[in-house]
Symmetry: C2
Subunit: 340 residues, 2 copies
């Protein structure tokens, strides 16, 4: 039995759900993958709770998300919040993303690499802001990095590009990579709501955040296609190299006209090779019923890979939820350490 000690940074909804999954799945993971996963530290805004023997995941998986729960846990178990954690094998990074600075994810990831730990990141900030540095430091320390959680989570994207299309040339990628904007567009299309009305509905349902700029201005989609392009199309771009347009200027009239024409507006993130260069743009685009992503509605996400030998391969679905994101991190962990 392989044993791996895990540090988690970020105890928000996704981090808490990750612990929940550890509890739910640890027995079956031992059985199927000969792998024992133990949570030895969780870090929040005010510091880490740590235990070499393993933290109590029954309690943590039922606690409210947020750093306060970590302070409560420390109090109940008579420990202090610390600035660092002890020896561990792998970091799961799930702090809120800042795509400008990459922090606090960047520091968390680099610290882990320096400690010779592998990293599974759900947050994308560090990779978006400092892609090259992150990979250089990983290489220098001979450790590995997985980031399915940062590239559409429960929707398989990187896996398909790397594994299922190995040996094929990917000539272009098109994706509906953000569930929130897709939900808003679906409501606008189906019910004739204005952007503001549909956004408010999404916020009321907890699908959009109060500050929804990252989603509706296309930044989140841009981050995901950027990481996929850097990984699969060999680019070394950053956000500034991309043409990014959100959905916040789409009018009821445009939506109604498109509906009359039998098309739908989708926020498409595209990366494609042309004239020896990879172009990336994110913009609302009208797609007809024959488009492979035409049925990707609501909070669903989808991706199409255009290849030279396998034709077009499309994947869609995968829960857009904290549980789905946490499951993507768990998948990465298993794929790092499985022996079969």
């Amino acid at each position: 039995m392989r044993k791996k000690n895990i540090v988690l940074t970020g105890f928000g909804a996704v981090g808490r759900e990750f612990i929940h999954l550890l509890r739910e799945k640890s027995e079956i993971i031992k059985e199927n993958y000969n792998l024992e996963l133990r949570l030895v530290a969780v870090g929040g805004r005010d510091g880490f709770i740590c235990s070499d023997e393993g933290l109590n995941i029954d309690i943590l998986s039922e606690a409210e998300p947020g750093s306060k729960s970590l302070a409560d846990y420390a109090h109940d178990f008579r420990m202090s919040l610390t600035n660092s954690y002890g020896k561990a094998d792998v970091l799961v990074e799930a702090t809120p993303t800042d795509v400008e600075s990459g922090e606090p994810g960047f520091t968390n990831i680099i610290t882990a690499f320096s400690n010779r730990m592998d990293v599974v990141t759900i947050s994308k900030g560090a990779l978006v802001a400092r892609y090259d540095t992150v990979f250089e430091v990983a290489k220098a320390n001979k450790v590995r990095l997985k980031y399915s959680g940062a590239t559409a989570a429960a929707l398989p994207t990187k896996d398909i590009g790397e594994i299922s299309l190995a040996g094929s040339e990917i000539v272009g990628i098109e994706g509906i990579l953000n569930g929130t904007t897709n939900y808003i567009l679906t409501r606008m299309h189906e019910e004739g709501l204005s952007f503001e009305e549909a956004l408010r509905t999404a916020q009321q349902k907890g699908i959009a955040e109060t500050n929804s700029d990252l989603d509706v201005k296309g930044i989140d989609s841009a981050c995901k296609i950027l990481l996929l392009s850097n990984d699969l199309l060999g680019t070394r771009y950053s956000l500034k190299d991309l043409s990014i347009q959100g959905i916040d200027r789409l009018t009821k009239e445009q939506m109604a006209e498109s509906k009359r024409r039998g098309t739908k507006f989708k926020l498409l993130a595209k990366a494609y090779k042309q004239d020896g260069k990879v172009h990336i743009n994110i913009a609302p685009a009208e797609i007809g019923p024959g488009h492979m992503l035409a049925a990707v509605d609501g909070t669903n996400k989808g991706i199409v890979f255009h290849t030279d030998t396998m034709g077009a391969v499309c994947a869609f679905g995968g829960s857009s939820s904290p549980r789905g994101a946490a499951a993507a991190a768990l998948k990465d962990l298993i794929n790092l350490y499985r022996d079969n």
Copy 2:
């Protein structure tokens, strides 16, 4: 640079296309995966052509499919067709499938295992007829087996189940796994053709074979869902454990009624857990526009995985062609030996 010597059994359309891909892709595979692939033997009905230094893939990739081309090659290069091949690392098995006996694939695969070779199989006969034996012999010889080509080829199915859904419980799988029947059903649905008329069209276009029984009676779909279930749902079933119904009894009237109702008939292969048991059935089923496979028309194939943590994940597309099947084998080869 890792070097791997390949033996190919079966020089039909897929085998020839595999050689074509080796020629087209060998440089990029060296570059991207640090892997040099060399074809050292090709076997057909009358024996093998072999060369320790590597066969001439420029010539073979342009030759007509069929054993006669191997005899011509032997003649031109002044060699004899042999009964066996020399030392090699991996067998690519692409002979025509016999799902009853599993031959000649079974013998080819077992021989390779006994020679301590890994195997990538495109033909499914051996696995369908003698699943347990094949895996036991592989294990005993400490070699590996990949078979994407036998489970819908360019459509990612096994990869998604094993890699992208690692740690998720797959509670059910639904697939449109046979391009030929899907093409026939699409023509019947869209143009009101009878089964016989649509079959004839498919045969004229080279989409259906003259003897189309394996496809239209649902056997090919059954083989694929069987292999996926044995791999991903832990069953050890064989064809006799499955309920299999083809599309050959669907009438024009049934199709017309379904069209009026706004549904489509698809040949669905389903494997699902119920009452602690996995049930598998293959039968024509009406699906509505909200079904994830509703847009999978023509020769396209598709698959949906229902999971406990990631929701439903659907993949569709992937060229249903000799090139697509050959590309699936090449993918398996790369994934066996890649170092990244």
